[in-house]
Amino acid sequence: MLSSVNLASDLGAVWLTFKLATVVTLLLLLIGTPIAWWLARTRSWWKGPVGAVVALPIVLPPTVLGFYLLLLMGPNGVIGQFTLWAGIGLLPFTFGGLVVASVFYSMPFVVQPIQNAFEAMGDKPMEAAATLRASPLDAFFTVAVPLAKPGFLTAAILGFAHTVGEFGVVLMIGGNIPDKTRVVSVQIYDHVEALEYGQAHWLAGGMVVFSFLVLLALYTLNPTGRRK
């Protein structure tokens, strides 16, 4: 059955996955909010192309994303040459590399709910705030953000859950290093490949329960659908 060494390695993978998803979710809320705001309110010609780029990871197989990230972040790639120049070193096989990849990969799941919430809000609340002499930034934080709260909640939950469920990209650029890049999904894959079905079960079963609870929380806590 489960030896203590294997258990420690499984728990290490669980902790790493949790850490990765948390960092990625926080980063995405920071990066994704201005993008979502811009996409929701702009009339620029660029809205189409930018929206399409943000949504690409929904359509692309993770292997495509992983393959190009491996090339781009490698010593001959644009990102790789930048990180070498900046003294950070190369990103593949590092936790930082997984964070960067996951930010791309989970971007649409965070941007789109926030964008939808901003769009649903319309122009009126911001105009009303402006007539009350609130600065645009003040109005954004005291009017727009509270109104879009359900969107933010959905974005955070989906961004977190989608990063936890990431596999293909990590497999392509992770290098399966314990406590650095060996996340739960990769660990499950290894167990299955090595025919350690018992160990695969408790992790895989855990993922099913976790995913169900996350979605249950999303659908019960978040009343966006019913409000309108």
Binding site: G74, P75, L90, I173, N176, I177, E193
Partner: protein, 249 residues
């Protein structure tokens, strides 16, 4: 309703053609990809049968075969998986044989990084060593054995980046993300010599021989095309191809 039937009929038609008698479905270990393609082309010319090749990790093939995959022949990366399948009744007894013995190589995509004695392992100057997951891949296990024999495992292990199979281990190095790593000689050999970069062929006495066995699976039992493939694989023409990729036969 009748509209739905047409696409279904088409799909059914597709499956019937795929299961045609003159075709053999072969699961091929990732390290044997290049020679298998060449041998398949020769095989088709010589026999008229068609060889349908699927490439991947041997461990994955095992799980798929046990769960009803349609493969008729397995060219494994090891000798334990075919033996296990035979013992469990999923392969045809008496058809198992070693079609190639693999050689391990320490390789860099850059010239003059790996010297011809493997001293680079002691000297360092690299951040990552790419290796196929030793738990899953025979070439990965052989690399760990060789490093253990050289008393370098403790020094090198923290630098391991593990690939899912030997093809991905090669990819990590080819893209420059790992400066050096352990791959199969067959992956870097072209026309009898190292094609690109620099390499050290790890002496065969540093690890257990990487015997790669082939076997006819349950689904290929009594199929002429499957038997023809195994016979062709034992022939001189196939052997010459296998040798040209650095395997021993």
């Amino acid at each position: 309703m009748s509209r739905r039937i047409q696409p279904l009929a088409l799909i059914a038609l597709l499956f019937t053609t795929a299961a045609h008698a003159d075709e053999v479905q072969i699961a091929v270990a990732a390290n044997f990809t290049a020679p298998a393609k060449l041998i398949a082309a020769d095989f088709e010319k010589a026999t008229g049968h068609k060889a349908q090749l699927v490439f991947g990790a041997t461990g994955k093939f095992y799980a798929q075969i046990k769960n009803g995959a349609p493969f008729e022949v397995l060219l494994a990366a090891d000798d334990t998986t075919p033996a296990k399948l035979e013992k469990e009744g999923a392969a045809v007894a008496g058809t198992r044989f070693t079609y190639a013995t693999g050689r391990l190589v320490l390789w860099s995509a850059k010239p003059a990084v790996v010297d011809d004695k493997g001293e680079v392992l002691k000297k360092g100057g690299f951040d990552h060593v790419s290796i196929a997951n030793p738990k899953l891949a025979p070439y990965g296990a052989a690399a760990v054995e060789a490093l253990t024999a050289l008393k370098l495992l403790d020094a090198i292990q923290p630098k391991f980046v593990q690939a899912e199979n030997i093809a991905q281990a090669h990819q990590f190095i080819a893209t420059g993300n790992a400066l050096i790593g352990f791959v199969a000689l067959s992956q870097v050999m072209k026309d009898g010599k190292i094609g690109e970069g620099s390499a050290w062929i790890v002496p065969a006495n540093l690890h257990q021989p990487i015997k790669q066995d082939a076997v006819i699976l349950d689904k290929g039992k009594g199929k002429p095309a499957a038997e023809a493939w195994l016979k062709f694989l034992k022939g001189d023409k196939a052997k010459a191809v296998i040798k040209s990729f650095g395997y021993e036969v």
